[in-house]
Symmetry: C2
Subunit: 359 residues, 2 copies
């Protein structure tokens, strides 16, 4: 049934390799917990452009619409730099977000104790880091109209529109407050209210939403200061909520604080709870096909899928525990290896196998 259908989009670069491991874990957990999930693999991104001439074929979009959740590997690569703008892999991703209304992007930045040394920050500043960024994903300057390049006063001008309506701000606000309530009950809304009108409305609505969440502490920060504070003292944050563009930048900065972006999953949810789940690390064309990519972010994306869309918290906990265990056992893919003697550096499939063994 639709409520149990998972669409799998391997995508480009290392996508197929890491998805194979994510799939292995998903299959195992499906059986172990009797979840009754059915899987369907579709073509997407650059691979779909190569095969069908478009990064988001109609058949893939329909399969996604008809699914409970989507597991995405990664898309893009230098091969597609010369493709027409509207047919580049990223357009497929933006199209899917928009078509499915996946407005709530959850970007956890979590530092595993064993990997603290991988961070470029001093260990004491990041040890125990557990931050959640809630990024609005279907509005703002990514989708705002008018946009384009046109001739004005004898020269070309490029323009985009950063736009948010009250209802768009309210629904991402509600989502963020709900998440904060389930965590440390502190929410920091990031805007540029001292310069932008769109941020003025953003802040006003966040304050309005906060009235329904007296148990959650709401603070506000300008985006430039937020970027500073993430570098200075990231553990001051619990949950951050921000617009599409600011979230793009801050969530990547926050991810990099952990030093191990090969470990970080993400979720993109719509009103109905349908979700797309993907590792944040991208398609890494330089190591594609070598079998050395770290599949843990994809495996943790499976865990997020179980938790946020399928409401199978027990199965999700099992995956999280298995990942923690393989790290504790010293297993590392090359991206998170630091050369310590306790480490056992393994490849993509071995890491998938290790997680299955730990399950």
């Amino acid at each position: 049934s639709q409520a149990r259908k998972i669409v799998i989009l391997p995508g480009d670069g290392i996508g197929p390799e890491i998805i194979a491991e994510g799939r292995k874990v998903l299959d195992a957990i499906n059986e172990q917990y009797n979840l009754g999930l059915s899987m369907e693999t579709c073509v997407f991104g650059g691979a779909a452009y190569d095969e069908t001439g478009t990064p988001l074929p109609e058949s893939t979009l329909n399969a996604c619409r008809d699914s409970a959740a989507i597991l995405l590997g990664a898309i893009g690569g230098p091969k597609y730099d010369k493709a027409p703008r509207e047919l580049r892999p990223e357009r497929g991703l933006l199209g899917l977000r928009s078509e499915l209304g996946l407005f709530a992007n959850l970007r956890p930045a979590l530092l595993y104790p064993e990997l603290a040394a991988a961070s470029s920050l001093k260990p004491e500043l990041v040890a125990g880091l557990d931050l959640m960024i809630v990024r609005e994903l279907t509005g703002g300057i990514y989708f705002g109209q008018p946009r384009g390049i046109e001739e004005r006063n004898g020269e070309r001008v490029g323009f985009n529109t950063m736009v948010y309506s009250e209802s768009e701000i309210r629904r991402i606000g509600i989502r963020a407050f709900e998440i904060a309530r389930q965590r440390g009950s502190r929410l920091c809304s990031v805007d540029k209210m001292n310069v932008l009108e769109v941020s003025e409305l953003w802040r006003e609505i966040m304050i309005d939403v906060s009235k329904d969440y007296p148990d959650v502490e709401l603070t506000h920060m300008f985006v430039d200061n937020a970027a500073m504070q993430l570098v200075r003292a990231p553990k001051q944050f619990d949950v951050m909520v921000t617009s599409n563009l600011f979230g793009d930048v801050l969530s990547d900065a926050a991810a990099m604080l952990t030093g191990s972006i090969g470990m970080l999953p993400s979720a993109s949810l719509n009103e109905a709870g349908q979700g797309m789940y993907e590792p944040i690390h991208g398609s890494a064309p330089d190591i594609a096909g070598k079998g050395i990519a770290n599949p843990l972010a994809t495996i943790l994306s499976v865990s997020m899928m179980l938790r946020y869309t399928l409401k199978e918290a027990e199965a999700a906990d099992a995956i999280d525990a298995a990942v923690a265990q393989v790290l504790a056992q010293g297993y590392r893919c090359q991206d998170i290896a630091t050369g310590q003697s306790e480490e056992k550096v393994i490849n993509t499939t071995e890491m998938g196998d290790a997680v299955i063994a730990a399950l």
Copy 2:
């Protein structure tokens, strides 16, 4: 004469305290090098709002127009949060940038060897950091039209426009290439070309400008990746050039990498070479009036003024050397003190005196 007139804007918070020390150094260097500079102090920011009802009084604007350079302390504070939007201190700053056409914002991020421990990054990743961010300052979403909050389909919508013309991109590009040529000859242009049309034009024009600078290596990076790379390996960069909003975020992140924002000056230049010089740290209302603020960023802003507008490189070098010397002597204001035994923690005026003594 106008070519030798310096307007001083103390502003708010710690502004007057740090400006007093900057002024002391400027007076000393004026005499020592026989520069023939004349100084005039004007009211600006929140202080001007309190006194005259507007953050940028006509008389201040006229004095600034009629000057060679402006030395600004800092503006703003919680006291003005409730002032009408158009009369907040920041609006004075944005107005001054715009009225004087100060389109080129130079934001060095330099880590002094003695202060490496202050960084939140591991010392080996930041030791020797010397990065220059060139931020476009009078265009983009800061000033783009249309902008506002209005009713659409029964709800309010906030909107701003990110807009750049070819000529705006070209002139900041030229400035950045010129600066890169005088440094490590590597320029990284930061955009969001995979999503924004305005960035498509930005990248195209940067590539076009690069044809006149075959000796400078031009690379491109998406803003989200740039934020990551600054955290991961900031020393990979020599000069970065980017738009107003991206530059706002990235330059603050880069500054914080040094761990000592109390040390960082900035310049904002127009076509004619006229410039506004200011420390990047802001008005720090929490320590205002205590006499403990670090005046070194202001003193280094005086140095930038001598170098970039007044073309007095020798005098600028003398200030830079004096600052390096006081650091080597162990003098620290509290913001950059780390508790090591060689350090002598001193206050604002003592630091100004120490620099004068070293001159």
